[in-house]
């Protein structure tokens, strides 16, 4: 097994533990925004798409890469915007907030 693979597997396993640890404390109320937020985060696959689309390695690769960039971009932009719209809703009643500000 190559050294780089070993490092990558280490990163993978540690990230899995972090993911479980961070997520297990989220209240039910926030499950939908959480699903939507994580959905946006896996849009990071656009990084892979950019590397393909920008590599100039022939027409087939470029076409696949460009479509992948478009898919990834809609995942990223749409995902974060939808999550933000959901979370915008989470606010206390204005009348409750004002006295606290004083």
């Amino acid at each position: 097994m190559s050294e780089s693979l070993l490092i990558e597997l280490t990163v993978f396993v540690l990230a899995a533990f972090v993911g479980i640890e961070v997520i297990s404390k989220v209240p039910t109320t926030l499950h939908t925004p959480l699903m939507s937020g994580t959905n946006a985060i896996h849009g990071v696959v656009i990084v892979g798409a950019i590397l393909v689309a920008g590599a100039d390695r022939g027409p087939l690769t470029t076409v696949l890469g460009t479509v992948a960039v478009a898919f990834g971009a809609s995942n990223v932009v749409g995902g974060f915007v939808v999550t933000d719209r959901m979370l915008e809703m989470f606010k206390k009643r204005p009348s409750e907030r004002e006295p606290a500000d004083e």
């Binding site: 190559s2 693979l5 990558e8 990163v11 993978f12 990230a15 972090v18 993911g19 479980i20 961070v22 997520i23 404390k25 209240p27 039910t28 109320t29 926030l30 499950h31 925004p33 959480l34 699903m35 937020g37 994580t38 959905n39 985060i41 896996h42 849009g43 990071v44 696959v45 990084v47 892979g48 798409a49 950019i50 590397l51 393909v52 920008g54 690769t61 890469g65 460009t66 479509v67 478009a70 898919f71 990834g72 971009a73 809609s74 995942n75 932009v77 749409g78 995902g79 915007v81 939808v82 933000d84 719209r85 959901m86 979370l87 915008e88 809703m89 989470f90 009643r93 204005p94 409750e96």
Partner: protein
């Protein structure tokens, strides 16, 4: 430090921002900033990648980014809050599709290079290609079902499980052939097409009621496909972000399953919610009489109650009645009635979906009570007002062992002094089963669109 080192360093910052962002999503007060932090991390990751030595031309990247970004932004801005679950499904599918396409392109380039493809690369490519494809087609079907473009009831072919198992076996065999040195682009393409069919086949067989669980599962799939792409490219930010999503998606899927008392295997292979035959003859204790009332009668019950618990369901969401419900609650509160909301974990179509809808209507989240908190209070409740909810208040889950929903935790509304059910018709709920609550002598039905019914009740309470 070389340029690639700097990029790696930038990726480390992005990964940290993703983790901090997720952490902040765990409290309503910080959630919004958490999401924005993650978005900043994403921007960082994309910009850093543009500086990568392997990126030599930008034209097509810009074309793809503009088209996809615009489509995503417009879709996300225009979508109604009730349609959010299918929007999440759609974006998830695109993520899976992107992972699959990247895998295909990487494979194309790898077979062009001299020598054998290293085992690590080919295994990761195959995983991304297959899982990404399943996630793409599955998410599109889930979108179609929630959007009601496709029938929400499970569509099963004869020998459904055999077909699914056979498709899965074919995919595995093809992957084995590709992984053991047989280099062929068309063969990978064929494998991906079969994976797409597998995704369609799997999700078509699942009832609309289970779509949230399916979307959550496919969300985890896309996360893992992304992580796998990270192994292909030796890219840590893809591995970390993909794995975070894979882990959280799996956990969330289990949580949702738990709320419905069903295992993931049961959801995927159960073909539940056929809406066909009733699960056992359901005859209410009073011999199957359904009583319906007028808004005026029911308003009096509400106006002179001390404690009212509102149980919102998907029907409320569909009718966009959340603002009207809040108005009704305000009117009641002004009369001194104690109004609270009982939120079932899967009310609406996803955990927390109902909280979002009610929050949109400015209902303070301190009034929203989760099932376990409010269930002990139903015996002391004068009126339970069930608005467009069905399966989550079905007592069959507790006392009819043969029922498909038997064992699912439900809200004990039947323990309150009186129950008012607002419903469009006597149709069964998403799970396709009868509800004996409607035949309970304490229950009064008010048929009609939830929004109009609530508005009528509000007007009647004002004059009561």
């Amino acid at each position: 430090m070389s340029r690639q080192d700097w990029i790696g360093f930038a990726y480390l910052i992005c990964a940290s921002l993703f983790i901090i962002g997720l952490k902040r999503l765990s409290s309503p007060a910080t959630a919004r900033s958490g999401n924005r932090l993650a978005a900043v991390g994403m921007t960082f990751a994309i910009v850093a990648t543009l500086f990568d030595e392997r990126v030599v031309s930008y034209g097509w990247i810009a074309v793809g980014a503009v088209i996809g970004g615009a489509a995503g932004a417009i879709g996300a801005r225009k979508v109604k809050m009730t349609a959010m679950p299918q929007m999440v499904a759609l974006f998830n599918g695109f993520g899976g599709g992107a992972a699959a396409l990247v895998a295909l392109a990487d494979y194309h380039d790898s077979i062009g290079a001299p020598g054998n493809i290293p085992a690590k690369i080919i295994v990761s490519i195959l995983f991304s290609a297959v899982v990404g494809s399943v996630s793409f087609s599955g998410s599109m079907i889930a979108f179609g079902k929630l959007q009601e473009v496709i029938s929400g009831s499970p569509v099963t072919l004869p020998g459904q499980r055999v077909i699914t198992a056979a498709l899965f076996a074919v995919v595995l065999v093809l992957c084995a052939i590709l992984a053991t040195g047989h280099e062929s682009l068309p063969l990978l393409a064929v494998t991906m097409v079969i994976a797409l069919i597998l995704g369609i086949q799997m999700v078509m067989a699942i009832g609309g009621a289970d779509m949230p669980v399916v979307i959550s599962l496919l969300n985890a799939f896309t996360g893992l496909a992304t992580a796998s792409t990270g192994f292909v490219l030796s890219n840590n930010v893809l591995i970390i972000a993909g794995t975070l999503v894979g882990a959280s998606g799996t956990l969330l899927t289990q949580l949702m399953g738990k709320a419905m008392n069903r295992t993931i295997a049961n959801v995927v292979f159960g073909a539940f919610g056929t809406g066909g035959g009733p699960a056992g003859a359901v005859v209410g204790p009073a011999g199957g009489q359904v009583r319906s009332g007028t808004a005026d009668d029911l308003a009096v019950m509400l106006a002179y109650a001390r404690r009212v618990v509102i149980v919102p369901g998907y029907g409320l969401a569909v009718a966009q009645a959340q603002h009207n419900v809040r108005e009704l609650a305000d009117v009641l509160e002004r009369r001194g009635v104690d109004v609270r909301y009982a939120i079932h974990p899967v009310a609406g179509r996803m955990p927390g979906h109902m909280n979002v809808l009610l929050a949109e209507a400015d209902v303070p989240y301190t009034q929203l009570h989760e099932m376990d908190d409010i269930n002990p209070d139903f015996p002391r409740t004068d009126v339970s007002l069930v608005i467009g909810a069905n399966d989550v208040v079905n007592p069959a889950a507790k006392n009819t062992p043969g029922s498909p929903i038997y064992g699912m935790p439900v809200l004990n509304v039947e323990q309150s002094t009186a129950v008012i059910v607002l419903k469009r018709s006597m149709n069964t709920g998403f799970a396709g089963i009868e509800n004996e609550l409607f035949y309970d002598p304490r229950t009064t039905m008010l048929f009609g669109d939830a929004k109009e019914s609530v508005a009528a009740l509000t007007a009647a309470v004002k004059s009561a």
